[in-house]
Amino acid sequence: MTATPAIVQIPAERTSTGRLRRTAGRYGVHVVLAVLMIVWLLPTIGLLVNSLRNSSDIATSGWWTSLFPPKGLTLDSYAAVFSETDIASGFINSLFITIPATIIPIFVAAFAAYAFSWMNFPGRNLLFVAVVGLLVVPLQTTFIPILQVFGNLGIAGQFLSVWLAHTGYGLPFAIYLLRNFMGSLPKEVFESAYIDGASPVTAFFRLALPMTIPAIAALAIFQFLFVWNDLLVAYIYLGAVRPENLPMTVQISNLVSSQGAGWELLGPAAFISMALPLAVFFALQRYFVRGITGGAVKG
């Protein structure tokens, strides 16, 4: 803006360069977005096409050579990954690990979140700040002592060890998310319930829990994806002791390191492991996004 307000300025779009710029701007947005979307999709498309080619094609030519026109596409690698590897049992292991490791922390966190939101006790805020602080503790600082304890208890390598560990690791975020949501429920609801003589247990199961369902859904999706996609926790607690209990992520990483043998199995294995997270994502995207924005923005 100039310092002479008396002079009427010509709006930018009236001039020819301004119009040019605006037109370029309008199409520019679409061009930039189109390029970004292609860049984002290309890696996955590449793997998808490669997962449908046979091993000699994969080794000797790029995936794009099979596209125009489509040729030599086959489901052989998908059949092979089931017959030559343990991926089917890995899929079931992943389910066995993930479902309990998702359900347990939700209950434990809901009780704690209710206490943090609607009960008064000395040190409440300090304790909650400590829980928020635990959000960032790297799992690496916990592995060595816990592994020894699991060894002493004789549960190293068993599903129970990862259920417990994932519950502990998932709790800070779970408590944080649920407490933020429960704490913002209207106070009057609980006050009138208590006046009517409801016990905290009734207030929790009849009021707080049903009203927190959206946050619980978001949390369930998060914890599910976190555990399903986890490599490290399973690798540390299950890998060395009971390889037959390993989830798909660890199996796939083992496939990668066994260079040469089974290059063509990687693509199908990866897609099988992605199937469930993608289904969850597309079916429940709304809750997923709400969990992210609710956890990070609202705070």
Binding site: G46, L47, F96, I146, G168, L171, F204, G299
Partner: protein
């Protein structure tokens, strides 16, 4: 199917049952407590399961690991700061420190920069939700799967033979020589290529949060600026960007922590070879491949020390928000 199914079913039904039963039990127990004490004891009973888990799996092990970092490869043999002087004296370890710093800087730059750009751009188009899904979806898959996907992007065949990797395919179309992306150690470039994989996953995270914040900015404010003749760039630079800064700070702290913890991508794509090791992956290697829990614990503590300042920022921001409640 087998015994695992029985166990899993017992856990899925039994554990919630036990936990719900526990809460009912606390009320029964509280009946025996004097009236005045009841409301003082109750919160602790409700918190007990969570506190037990947090102690057993986060607090207690962290304390033990800190103590362990002052002991040698053999537990119980106190060695003072030897594990730390090993770290700062070993070229390999220092490379992992440099790489972790690179992860923090570049992952934050890539994800926040691109996330902001995309959030601003999709706000102006009708296919917003589709564009967002495309950018966002990699966040749902595992880093292991992402690493497999990108191995085929970075794949390298020696010059002269047909390229099978997507990026080298594109380069060769322009007559440029094949690059063995994951082995370029100059300036730690291969680490940047690994960061790109993570950025591919996490840009959607930054975008979703920034986009939500962007929608919170009053359109009247923006329209007023446009009517006053501000260009789109000026609207962004002087109105939108300053208003988004607090959100950018929030996103950045999360990304910094994610970058420091990044393990899977390094482990699956290079296994830390070619100078791509980071602290998080070197900790695993020292502990569970070389079996030196002293070194491993020291590395874990260094990782924790790097994260604590970010945690401090998190907590002070959280307290500021609570004060506004």
């Amino acid at each position: 199917m087998d015994e695992r199914l029985g166990t899993a079913l017992a856990v899925v039904i039994g554990v919630p049952g036990v936990l719900v039963g526990y809460i009912y039990l606390t009320e029964l127990v509280l009946r025996f407590a004097p009236d005045r004490r009841r409301s003082a004891i109750r919160p602790w009973l409700w918190l007990l399961p969570a506190l037990l888990f947090l102690f057993a799996f986060l607090i207690f092990p962290t304390i033990l690991t800190i103590l362990r970092s002052f002991q040698g490869a053999v537990a119980g043999a106190w060695v003072g700061l030897e594990n730390y002087s090993w770290f700062f004296g070993s070229p390999d370890a220092l490379i992992s420190l440099r790489n972790s710093l690179m992860w923090v800087v570049f992952l934050t730059l890539f994800t926040v920069g691109l996330g902001l750009l995309i959030a601003v751009l999709v706000d102006r188009v009708r296919y917003e939700s589709i564009a967002k899904s495309v950018i966002f979806v990699p966040l749902a898959i595992s880093m292991t799967a992402a690493a497999v996907i990108w191995r085929f992007m970075f794949d390298y065949q020696s010059a002269g033979s047909a390229q099978t990797g997507t990026l080298n395919g594109i380069l060769s179309a322009f007559g440029l020589g094949p690059i063995s992306f994951l082995q370029v150690e100059t300036l730690g470039l291969n680490t940047i290529f690994l960061v790109i994989v993570m950025a591919w996953m996490w840009t959607g995270f930054a975008m979703v949060i920034l986009s939500a914040a962007l929608k919170g900015i009053s359109t009247e404010l923006l329209e007023a600026a446009r009517v006053d003749g501000a260009t789109e760039w000026k609207v962004f630079r002087f109105i939108v960007f300053p208003l988004l800064l607090p959100t950018i700070a929030v996103v950045s702290t999360t990304i910094v922590i994610t970058a420091l913890k990044a393990f899977d991508i390094v482990y699956v794509m290079t296994n830390g070879n070619f100078g791509t090791q980071v602290i998080a992956s070197q900790m695993i290697k020292e502990s569970f491949i070389f079996g030196n829990f002293g070194h491993g614990s020291a590395l874990a503590v260094i990782l924790l020390l790097a994260i604590i300042p970010v945690m401090g920022v998190n907590i002070s921001r959280f307290r500021a928000q609570e004060a506004l409640r």
